[in-house]
Amino acid sequence: MIRDDHQAGPTLTSPRSNGARISLAHGGGGQLTDELIGGLVLPRLGNGLLNELLDSAVLPLDAQHRLALTIDAYVVTPWRFAGGDIGRLAVSGTVNDLSVAGAKPLGLALSMILAEGLPQRDLDVVLASVAQASSEAGVPVVTGDTKVVGHGQADGIYLITAGVGVVPTDRRLHPDSIKAGDALIINGPIGEHGLTVMLAREMPEIDSVLRSDVAPLNHLINRVMTRHGGGVHFMRDATRSGLAGLAADLAKQSGRHITLDEAVIPVRPEARHAADMLGLDPLEVANEGKVVIVADRNQADQIVATMREHELGKQACVIGWVGDDGDGICELNTLIGGRRIIQKPYGEQLPRIC
């Protein structure tokens, strides 16, 4: 659990924190999620590996390999959206969590929680999607579980995927490895998954060309690691709290000053305008097919070139740098040459009019 002094203060049982009940915002992947994990989960379950709160835990295996293990639950509403569905999400999210840990994913476990009354046809659509994504990634679903809950106890279909993979023992990807001068590289435009899902959920009447970027990134990442593994210091996929959450976390975890350059961060016009309409910042919106690679600056250009050869890295570019200061702050150089802080979003993202 990483927290600043200014985020200390009220505990989870404080009357100010929503009457000590779980709110939707606790699941937003932002600061409030961090607080729930730090306040309730880690005190009970914390240990050396869990406390790191990385995308995958990496366990000792044998002399040549370590074992990466990860799990994620998928509860997206609606379950189908432009560019994908919950099935594609469940495979991609877990494959990506393994891949950014430097692991070659070996297999997935899939657990389904289905609501009574769900049309079997819907389930078939989702399973077809799971099969498609699993085949794209080359990572099979090797075990699973199915539960049905009564009508009204769950919303349609929830998926939980766990995954295992192997990491070569000599590959070390950790926030501690981030060094002053390192480059931050992203594989393409941001904000598309979160905006697509929010439009589908909150404003279904909007007909948008936006599509979720959900995709398994293991082949892209594997290519980078195979060619430039030594130059890669850390990786993370920019999911729920967006690029802002990822970059702010990187700064805190590494204790370094990180600067992003707004002018070069790729955002498609349709995403920018959808975000403007909803009053959201694309930086703070979820992605499901974006990885940020922190790499040695001398290899940054080659890594970008390698990524651009791959379908999912066509718009790869360097978006920022790790600085000398040890202040743990992430800052943005704005389009007009100004500067401002980037913080991790707080909780649930809501469309606003003001």
Partner: protein, 79 residues
Amino acid sequence: MCLAVPAKLIECEADEAVADLHGNRVKISTLLVPQVQTGDWVLIHAGFAIQKLESDQAEATFAVLEDLNKHLDEPVPGV
């Protein structure tokens, strides 16, 4: 206090319209701007077109700069 975004009307029917914001098509109310037609640019706030814009945003921004020069060289009262 009030977010509003420019968009182009691509379909108008009675007091509703479909507006396009660079690939995002949204149904809006045109009750507040009854004279608009397909092809017009409007400013949208909370699902309502609140004003017809004289041009698209890029042209308008350019016009403001012209205005800046006009106004700043010799501040004129009023508009």
